[in-house]
Structures are given as structure tokens and as C-alpha cells.
């Protein structure tokens, strides 16, 4: 679990770190997609009773699904993590400002 290299994250932490990057960007992309394409919104609403519930479950599923997949499939030491903190911070800023910009403009 832990990395012996002090400059690297352990395999699980790195795998779920990349999964978090993808999940936060996926969250914003799905928001824009369902807002722009009403049939998608209706489909999501029909799955759980409300589009927001489906949306949240999908974002969490992407995070855990991708994290588990990467941590199981990618060999130890092969999940890069050197710049992951900066990449995750950038992804959160892009995803957050993307949401604000989308609802401000449209």
C-alpha cells in the first residue's frame, strides 16, 4: 500500500488520485451534457427517480471503479504520481470554474 520511494505515492493512493482527477472532470462534463441534452437528463431521472441522484452515484462509481481498476490492473510503481497534486488541483479548478461558467453563460 505504502510506497518505499519517498518521492512516490503508493499504488492505491496514486490509482485513486488519478481516479479523482477523472471523476471531478467527469462530474462537470456530465453536468454540462445533461443540461444541454434533455433526453440524457430524463434518462438519468428515470434510473433513480431524480437526475441529481443518478449523477452523484455515477460520479462516485467512476471514482471507485477507476480507482479499483487502476490499482488492480497497473503493476506497482507504474502508476505515475510525481505531479499528481498539481494535476488534481488543476482539475478541481477547471471543473469548478467550468460549472460556474456554464451556469453563468447558459
Amino acid at each position: 500500500m505504502n510506497s518505499d520511494d519517498p518521492n512516490q505515492l503508493g499504488r492505491t493512493s496514486a490509482a485513486f488520485g488519478w481516479a479523482a482527477v477523472v471523476a471531478v472532470l467527469f462530474n462537470s462534463a456530465l453536468t454540462c451534457a445533461k443540461d444541454a441534452f434533455k433526453p440524457l437528463n430524463s434518462l438519468m431521472a428515470s434510473l433513480t427517480g431524480h437526475h441529481w441522484t443518478t449523477h452523484g452515484l455515477a460520479a462516485i462509481a467512476v471514482f471507485f471503479g477507476l480507482g479499483l481498476l487502476l490499482s488492480k490492473l497497473v503493476p506497482a510503481g507504474k502508476v505515475p504520481s510525481g505531479h499528481l497534486a498539481g494535476i488534481l488541483t488543476g482539475a478541481v479548478i477547471v471543473a469548478g470554474l467550468g460549472l460556474v461558467g456554464w451556469f453563468f453563460l447558459f
Binding site: 500500500m1 505504502n2 510506497s3 519517498p6 518521492n7 512516490q8 505515492l9 503508493g10 492505491t12 493512493s13 485513486f16 488520485g17 479523482a20 471523476a23 471531478v24 462530474n27 462537470s28 453536468t31 443540461d35 427517480g49 431524480h50 441529481w52 441522484t53 449523477h55 452523484g56 460520479a59 462516485i60 471514482f63 471507485f64 480507482g67 504520481s81 510525481g82 499528481l84 497534486a85 498539481g86 488534481l88 488541483t89 478541481v92 471543473a95 469548478g96 460549472l99 460556474v100 451556469f103 453563468f104
Partner: protein
């Protein structure tokens, strides 16, 4: 006094959100100060972030799905429609970002933060992102609440409410 289930849910959502932010700040402080002695405490604090954020998610989600449509209709008829069209729309989706990060934090704090500079830096980033996005969401919540308030004082929505 007339405190409804709806009120309890709303304040539980906001209150547990604030507690999750404070717990994330605790993780940030412990990661800054990482040592073998505080490693177990940091893991516990990270677990609390997840737990508190989940309670906030479930309570806020139930409130949003079952009780918000009435407030939304009032906001849209009132003088601050942007409290819904911009603030609520953004908040309801932005919430998933600190939620995802709060699930990640306990995974990250299983690393030896006191000896692994990369893990410590990552923990600091994730904890601070939870704090900042959480504060933005709390702020948006107050604008939405004010949107309802000004709508209730507005002549047109006053009629709807009565």
C-alpha cells in the same frame, strides 16, 4: 416553536458540511506537522471528513429532491432568480467535488505522511481543496437562502406563498 423535518434536514446538511470542512482543516494541520505520533489521529480525522461529508450529502440530497422544488418556484418568481439558476445549479453539482475528495482523503492518509513528502503534499492539497470548495458551497447556500427570503417579501411570490 415549529421546527419541521425539512428544517432539520437543511440544517443538518449545512452543519455537517461545516464540520467536514473543520475536520479537513484538522487533516491539513496534522499533515503540515506530520509525525509518527500523529499518524493515527490524522487517519481518524480523514475518516471523519468522509463520514461528515456523507451525512451532509444524504441530508442535503433528500432535502433537495423532496423539498427544494417549492423553494425553487419561489426563487424563480422573486427578484433573485440567479439564486437558483446560477448558485443552486452550480452548488448542487460542485458538491460532488469535495465529496469525491473526501472519499480519497482516508486512502491517502494510509501513506506514511511523516516520511513521504509526495504523500504529504498530496494530502495538504486534497484537504485544502475540500476546505475551499466546502466554503464556496456554504457561501452559495447562504445566497440561495437569501433568494428565498427576498422572494417571500416580493409582492408576486407573497401571493403564491399565501
Amino acid at each position: 416553536m415549529n421546527v419541521t423535518f425539512k428544517d432539520i434536514l437543511l440544517f443538518t446538511h449545512a452543519g455537517f458540511g461545516v464540520l467536514a470542512i473543520l475536520a479537513a482543516l484538522w487533516v491539513f494541520k496534522d499533515a503540515l506537522d506530520a509525525s509518527e505520533a500523529n499518524a493515527a489521529r490524522t487517519r481518524k480525522a480523514a475518516f471523519f471528513v468522509t463520514l461528515l461529508m456523507c451525512v451532509s450529502w444524504i441530508c442535503g440530497g433528500y432535502w433537495y429532491v423532496h423539498f427544494y422544488p417549492g423553494d425553487k418556484a419561489m426563487i424563480l418568481k422573486g427578484p433573485w432568480p440567479f439564486a437558483h439558476t446560477l448558485f443552486m445549479e452550480t452548488k448542487e453539482h460542485l458538491f460532488f467535488i469535495p465529496l469525491i475528495l473526501s472519499f480519497y482523503l482516508p486512502i491517502l492518509t494510509r501513506e506514511k505522511l511523516f516520511s513521504n513528502a509526495t504523500a504529504r503534499k498530496m494530502t495538504l492539497c486534497v484537504a485544502m481543496l475540500i476546505v475551499l470548495s466546502g466554503l464556496a458551497i456554504e457561501g452559495a447556500g447562504s445566497v440561495i437562502g437569501y433568494g428565498v427570503r427576498v422572494a417571500l417579501l416580493h409582492p408576486e411570490t407573497k401571493v403564491i406563498h399565501q
